[in-house]
């Protein structure tokens, strides 16, 4: 369930239901920019949300499966298989379900929108293609050039160090998600077209989870309320995770990403055939970057921010203005907005519930990458469940799920931390951004960046080169700051309060 739901923080106490008109807003190609922007932003701010109590209206409850009784952690399941529900069918959920099903566990994958094209850059690193055995046709475009553009329009081509076989794959999320789900299904997972409404443990801590969901299998706009009893739940339902709310996982700061998909004339599209652009500057975003990514047959122009969400429309206009010569004259075919988590939730597992992907908050700073990490965390979580349950023959507990968290943190903490430092150092002000672009001209930097992005392994470089890089970086930063003394700078040090004023600001921007 990867659609935009509610603003985390702004709304938390009641269960929300994404209602039909809103889904339609997101699913349909919009006619005018104005109109579609309004819709997306409204959807984003949760204006059209319908309040509903969990479980209310679920009168025709029907227990689909046998009742599961309270079982202690580690106890044998006496012949039956462990039952796990995965909520959300994006890359995270699909990969969890796939690994679980392969591990011999009875798996249910609940996803509301099977053809959801999530607003997303859609870039996947090379190692994901091998690791998750993705077929070649998933990749629409192979980006081999990345252009970084500084506030003073200095441009640097990153990607000169890439070999013939290396590229950043651009995919359409609806295609990728569908493929991963189909594969999970083939491996034995049961895919349910349903909307997760809530869950409860009727028999105490060690009892089964009863999931309430609306089944849309039959089609139509109104789902049929049903229940499903499982031993364990994995929440892979994205930034507005309901599973996270159910386990009181806490909130995270989030960035808002805004993106317009534009179909541009062929001659202009040709320029973007294997090239992505990244704009930095106070005008396009105070703490992130603006982008032009090539998609299947169009480009996606967008930007994101944490510190000033209310100004997102203005930043988007600035991004369009900065890329004017290259993306002008196109037709806007979609407008999208989506929250992006900034850090993990305080609680990522509780009892027999675990979170993966965006729901857990696994999106990197600086690059804002999340697809690979969602898929990988799903797989690691599932592996921990398979191992902890001895191929589904005994009941795993929270300690088994914590194994996954521990391994995850150990494996990727450094990656996240490095990107966090990069963002804090280089995205804070225009002089720093100038230095960032300047620095990216170095081949060593390019090689290191691409290696760590494409293969997700940090290979320590030559210490001498590192030292040289450090001096260069410090030099660039000093020069940049000397040239713009007193430039505006953002602070990444405090928690960004989800002040209602910000939400009001977004709403005001919608009305304007």
């Amino acid at each position: 369930m990867a659609f935009v739901g509610t603003l985390p923080g702004a709304v938390s106490d009641c269960a929300y239901r994404t209602d039909q008109p809103r889904l339609a807003n997101f699913g349909r190609v919009q006619r005018t920019q104005q109109h579609s922007t309004l819709c997306s932003l409204r959807a984003f701010t949760g204006q059209q949300l319908q309040h509903r109590q969990t479980g209310q209206g679920l009168t025709s409850r029907r227990s689909q499966h046998l009742v599961v009784y309270a079982i202690k952690d580690g106890a044998s399941l006496e012949g039956r298989k462990l039952k796990v529900a995965v909520v959300g069918g994006g890359p995270g959920g699909a990969c969890t379900a796939d690994t679980l099903a392969r591990g011999g566990i009875e798996t249910y994958l609940i996803e509301r929108k099977m053809d959801n094209c999530k607003p997303c850059g859609g870039a996947i690193p090379l190692c994901m293609v091998d690791e998750f055995e993705l077929p070649a046709d998933i990749i629409d475009r192979k980006v081999t050039k990345m252009k970084m553009i500084s506030p003073s329009n200095r441009e640097v081509d990153v990607g000169k160090t890439l070999s013939q076989t290396e590229y950043i794959g651009m995919c359409r999320r609806e295609v990728l998600d569908n493929y991963l789900r189909k594969r999970a299904q083939e491996n034995g997972a049961k895919v349910l077209n349903g909307l997760f409404m809530g869950m409860e443990q009727k028999e105490g801590e060690e009892g089964a989870y009863t999931l309430n969901f609306n089944n849309y299998e039959a089609g139509g706009k109104v789902g049929k309320p049903e229940t499903l009893e499982v031993d364990l739940v994995v929440g892979a339902d994205g930034a507005n995770s309901r599973v996270a709310r159910e386990i009181d996982a806490g909130e995270y700061d989030y960035a808002i990403a805004f993106q317009e998909r534009i179909r541009i004339p062929d001659d202009k599209m040709d320029y973007y055939k294997d090239l992505a652009e990244m704009y930095v500057g106070d005008d396009v975003s105070p703490d992130f970057y603006g982008w032009v990514f090539p998609k299947y047959d169009h480009v996606a122009v967008g930007t994101g921010t944490v510190v000033n969400k209310a100004g997102i429309k203005q930043y988007q206009l600035a991004t369009r203005a900065r890329s004017k010569g290259k993306t002008e004259g196109g037709k806007i075919i979609r407008v999208e907005a989506h929250p992006i988590p900034e850090h993990p939730r305080p609680r990522r597992c509780k009892n027999r519930v675990a979170l993966v992907g965006d729901a857990a908050g696994y999106v990197t700073k600086c690059s804002g990458e999340g697809i690979y990490f969602a898929a990988k965390s799903g797989r690691m979580c599932a592996e921990a469940i398979v191992e902890g349950s001895a191929q589904g023959s005994r009941m795993p507990g929270e300690s088994d799920l914590r194994q996954y968290l521990s391994k995850w943190d150990k494996k990727y903490w450094a990656t996240y931390k490095v990107l966090d430092i990069l963002q804090k150092v280089f995205y804070r002000s225009n002089p720093a951004r100038e230095a960032f672009v300047e620095m990216c001209e170095s081949e060593y930097v390019q090689r290191m960046t691409f290696d760590s992005y494409l293969y997700k392994t940090v290979v320590p470089g030559n210490p001498l080169d590192d030292l040289k890089l450090l001096t260069q970086t410090v030099g660039s930063l000093l020069r940049g700051n000397a040239l713009r003394a007193g430039a505006k700078s953002v602070s990444f040090g405090q928690r960004v309060e989800e002040a209602s004023s910000q939400v009001k600001g977004v709403k005001a921007a919608v009305k304007a």
């Binding site: 995270y252 850090h343 700073k365 030099g475 713009r484």
Partner: protein, 236 residues
């Protein structure tokens, strides 16, 4: 030493008297001193011919300084995406790097205030690393260093005086003792770190920034025992 092996024809370029006065806020059209023919600008900067002054809105390229015209950055010294360094030489043929720094400062300021579209047709090629390190040091570091040195000397003197009057240990005794050396270092580094009263909140903010993300990550493990790798927790 200052001569950067520039073309000899650069000698004939119009000169700027002393330090260049292209202030960041001076976005207004400067009064053209000499006008070049538009064609000549593209070909050779040295081909600039003295011409009578013309009105500001003259169609034949007036000597524009740091302006955005039709979505393009325009300055008579800015050509093909870079500062033409020959325009910054003084009469003796020495580079006036301060003027280059000033010009680049003004360019960055104006582009920050009026962002312009990036185009493939005229890329920006100027690299600040082209300005030699000593020009940066002379311009930005030396005045700062002067200030810091003066401050360190004053604070050091005052402290030495206080220590002397309290303990009776003279300057030489203080320098010879370990404690005295330590104190000296503390003074020097404190002056380097706390330069202005703004430093304290800024440094605190820096500390917060350095630890904030870690706290967010570690929140999961608060009050929890982290499993040891390879241990089977629920093997009962």
């Amino acid at each position: 030493m200052f001569n950067m092996s520039l073309p000899a024809q650069a000698m004939s370029v119009p000169q700027q008297a002393g330090r260049h006065t292209c202030q960041p806020r001076a976005v207004t059209l400067r009064r053209p001193l000499r006008i070049r023919a538009a064609a000549a600008v593209d070909e050779k900067p040295a081909a600039a011919k003295p011409a009578p002054s013309q009105p500001k809105a003259a169609a034949s390229a007036p000597k524009l300084t740091c302006q955005v015209v039709d979505g393009k950055f325009t300055d008579y010294r800015w050509e093909n995406g870079r500062w033409t360094l020959s325009n910054f030489e003084n009469k003796a043929g020495n580079m006036d790097w301060d003027a280059v720094i000033d010009a680049e400062m003004a360019r960055r300021k104006i582009l920050e205030d009026n962002p312009i579209a990036s185009t493939n047709e005229d890329p920006v090629l100027f690299d600040t690393a082209e300005i030699p390190w000593w020009a940066w040091v002379r311009r930005f570091h030396l005045p700062e260093a002067e200030k810091a040195n003066g401050r360190a000397a004053m604070v050091g003197y005052a402290m030495a005086f206080v220590v002397d009057s309290l303990s009776g240990a003279g300057l030489v005794d203080q320098q010879n003792s370990f404690l005295g050396k330590l104190l000296l270092h503390v003074v020097v580094f404190a002056i380097l770190i706390f330069r202005t009263t703004d430093s304290i909140p800024a440094l605190k903010g820096l500390l917060d920034e350095a630890t904030f993300y870690d706290k967010q990550w570690k929140a999961t493990w608060e009050g929890q025992e982290r499993p040891v790798e390879g241990e089977k927790p629920s093997s009962s």
